[in-house]
Structure formats: structure tokens, C-alpha cells
């Protein structure tokens, strides 16, 4: 396999793993952020504290947690069910990155919707909005913050190495992604390649964030 083909394979796997993980964390994190930001219920403060703690969790600890969970002797690994991923697969890496990104997406979304004028919800209800329509209106008002939540989630996972290294194992052609490849090449003394991979990673992160901001402008600007 040529260098270009190998690089492309690594880039595509990085995007696949982080893309799926971001999608899952957005699907779970935005509703969770809305719930925590807009509703008052018993145990909310505990949940908020848990989300804030999750935002600061070291990826390597998440990696260890998922590793123990999925290992053959772990509570999930022992079940051998089809929807539970095996260790050292892209699916296990997606699970670890979803756990990493979820609190970032939920926490930033919570802060964004919590900052919207509470009178807005009352106003749209008075204009005949259902509960869902009122919640959507709040989400639209907080769109800048919600986009930041998605960007933070993506930034948190595309650049992390600890979790994917532990649960993926950095196996060539199977679980090697940009960050683990950088670690490997640096360890081997191939600094030129490590720097090239780093630049690709930076370019990807910038492009993804630019796309998010661009789409936000296209969708919502009056």
C-alpha cells in the first residue's frame, strides 16, 4: 500500500469514527441539554454536576472505563450480544468517543438554551406554539450556542488519543486513526510524517468547524 493510500485510509477512518460518535452525541446530547436547561425536576442539580464533571473527564480514563466494560470479563463484553461492540474495533472507538463528546454537547447546549430570555417561551406559547414548537423556538434562538456545542464535541473527539488508543489498539488497517498514527510515528522518530499527519488533523478540524459555522449561517440568517 502506498503512503498516500495509507494516509487516506487513516483519514477516512478518523472521520468515520469521530463522525459517527459526533452524530450519536448530538442525538443524545442536545435533548439532554434542552431537558437540563429548560426543565426543573428532582435530581437536576446532580445531573448538571455530572455533565460538568463529564466535560472535564480525561479521554484516557474514558478509554479505560470502556475497555473494562467491553473486555471479555467485563459486564458488557461477557454478554456477547450483537449490538455490543468488541474491543479493538472502530465500533468500540465510536462508543468511547460518544461518551467523551456527550457531556460537551449536552453541557454547552444546556448553557445556550438556559441563556435564552425565559419570556420568549411564554411569548411563543401565547402565539399558539405547542410544547414542541416552543422548545424548537428556544433551540433556534440559542442556535449560536448549540453550534458551539457541536463544534466543541467534534473538537474534543477528533483530537483525542487516549481513549481510541486504549479501546482501538492502533491496529494497522483496522483501528489506526490520525492521532494514534501521530503517536506511533513520533515514537519511531518519523517526525516528518508525524508533522504531516498533524497538519492533516488540524486541517480536518478547521474544515469541519468552518462547515458547521457556514451551515449555521445558511440555515438561520434572515
Amino acid at each position: 500500500m502506498s503512503l498516500d493510500a495509507a494516509l487516506l485510509e487513516i483519514v477516512l477512518l478518523s472521520l468515520r469514527v469521530s463522525g459517527f460518535a459526533l452524530l450519536l452525541s448530538v442525538l443524545l446530547g442536545i435533548p439532554a441539554g434542552l431537558l437540563l436547561g429548560l426543565r426543573r425536576f428532582p435530581g437536576r442539580r446532580l445531573a448538571v454536576a455530572a455533565v460538568y464533571t463529564g466535560m472535564a473527564f480525561p479521554p484516557v480514563v474514558i478509554g479505560l472505563f470502556v475497555y473494562l466494560l467491553l473486555s471479555r470479563n467485563g459486564p458488557l463484553g461477557g454478554l456477547a450480544l450483537p449490538f455490543i461492540p468488541s474491543l479493538f474495533t472502530p465500533q468500540a472507538m465510536i462508543l468511547a468517543q460518544t461518551i467523551l463528546a456527550f457531556p460537551l454537547v449536552a453541557g454547552f447546549t444546556m448553557a445556550a438554551v438556559g441563556g435564552v430570555d425565559p419570556a420568549l417561551r411564554v411569548q411563543v406559547r401565547a402565539l399558539g406554539a405547542s410544547h414542541w414548537q416552543a422548545t424548537w423556538a428556544v433551540l433556534e434562538e440559542a442556535r449560536g450556542g448549540v453550534v458551539a456545542a457541536v463544534a466543541a464535541g467534534f473538537g474534543g473527539i477528533i483530537s483525542e488519543v487516549g481513549a481510541v488508543m486504549i479501546v482501538g489498539g492502533n491496529i494497522e488497517h483496522r483501528t489506526r486513526v490520525l492521532t494514534t498514527a501521530i503517536v506511533l510515528e513520533t515514537g519511531k522518530g518519523n517526525f516528518d510524517l508525524a508533522i504531516a499527519l498533524s497538519l492533516v488533523l488540524l486541517g480536518l478540524a478547521f474544515s469541519a468547524n468552518f462547515l458547521i459555522v457556514y451551515l449555521q449561517g445558511r440555515s438561520f440568517d434572515p
Binding site: Q123, A126, L127, G128, P222
Partner: protein, 243 residues
Amino acid sequence: MNEILYALSGVTKAYGRRTVLAVDDLTIRRGETLAVVGPSGAGKSTLLRLLNFLEPAATGTISFGGQTIVGGDDAPLAVLRRITTVFQRPVLLKRTVAANVAYGLGLRGQRNTQAVVAKILDAVGLSHLAGEKARSLSGGEAQRVALARALVLHPDVLLLDEPTANLDPANVALIEQAVAQMCREQGTTVVFVTHNLFQARRMGDRVALMLDGRLVEVGDTDAFFEHPVDPRTAAFVRGEMVY
């Protein structure tokens, strides 16, 4: 106009331990314009929120069109959509003026609303601002957008919470005119809160005075101002402090 639309009986509302509203009995007839006056903190805005079923009453019943309705999260959407409120502080969405006016129609599944939106913007003198961002408007313009957003829905009930407070006389006249025209053409029931006794007299078929969360007196406009029954109403009309 004699058909009773709202009937309130023993309605109270409390925030924490503080009771802010206690209305023993109030009826509002379909198609009438009721002005609610009283000092700040008298419970006028709370009354409007209950009439829009945005909040539940603590005790008592509110009947609307003969049906008892519990306000708040469980209020039926079909009822909610027959009523709308223009608040004292207009909260506009981060959209254009036209999109703000079309918002309530969109909630009801109506599309291709450009023509009706243009017509209502013309009525409130804002056609030239249709494409502007709503949050860039002045206070008077924003309030007119809020009014247009309500009027375009052709509600059965229009609730106005000091809609002309802090506005210049030209804007006040424009808003009063638009509301009066709607009442005339569509038989809309209007309940409006105001500190302006002249406005209450100009616009109201009946006037209600509220003090400390209670209704002191409700009467036909002329009788309310010329022959008030309660001495507190008489003092209030004379501009004396009754609170």
C-alpha cells in the same frame, strides 16, 4: 355581544406564599373591550396570563366559551390558539420583521402567507421594514411588530398588556386604531391593561379597577368614570393615591 365568553369564579394565583390575584367573580362578554386599570403590582398582568391559559390558577375555575379550562402545560392547544397576548415588552424572534409576523401562522400550518403578512404590516405602518432584522427595531416599531404578529392570527381574544406604555403619541394612536378596527371588523374580544385612564376611557366598553390582586369595581365605561360605586374607584379616577 351579550354572550358570555369568560366566566371566572373564585380564581386565585399565588407565587410562593404571596397571593397576587384573587378574583371572586368576573365575566367577559364576547366582542367587548374590557380595560383593566390599577397600580403596578395589582395583579393585572397575572390576570391576562390566566386569561391566555399560560398558567394554571391556584384555585377556582375559568370557563371559556362554556368549557372549564385548566391553564398551563395542560391547556388545550385548540383553545390556546384562539387567544393571544401582546406583552408590554415585545419579545421578537431572531428573524426578519415579516418572518416574526408570519410565525404564528406557521405554527398553525399555514404556508404562503406573504400577502396577509404584507397587508397587516401595511396596517401598522411597517411595510418598509418587512425585510429588516426584527431585533434592530426601535421600541415603538418592535411593539407594532408584536401587535401585527397578534392581529394577523385573527384571534377570538386579544389580550394587551400595556401595549402602548413608553410609546410616543403617534405610535399610541396607530396601535389603538389597529385594535379598534379589528374589533369592529371581526368582533374580537379585547382585554387590555393600561395605566392610562384616558386610553381606558377611549377604548373600553367596560373598565375594571384592580387593587392588591382584587377586583374593586367593574362597570360600563361612562358609569365607571362618572358615577363610580366604590369610593376607591372614585379616588383612583380622580388621580388620588388609593394604594
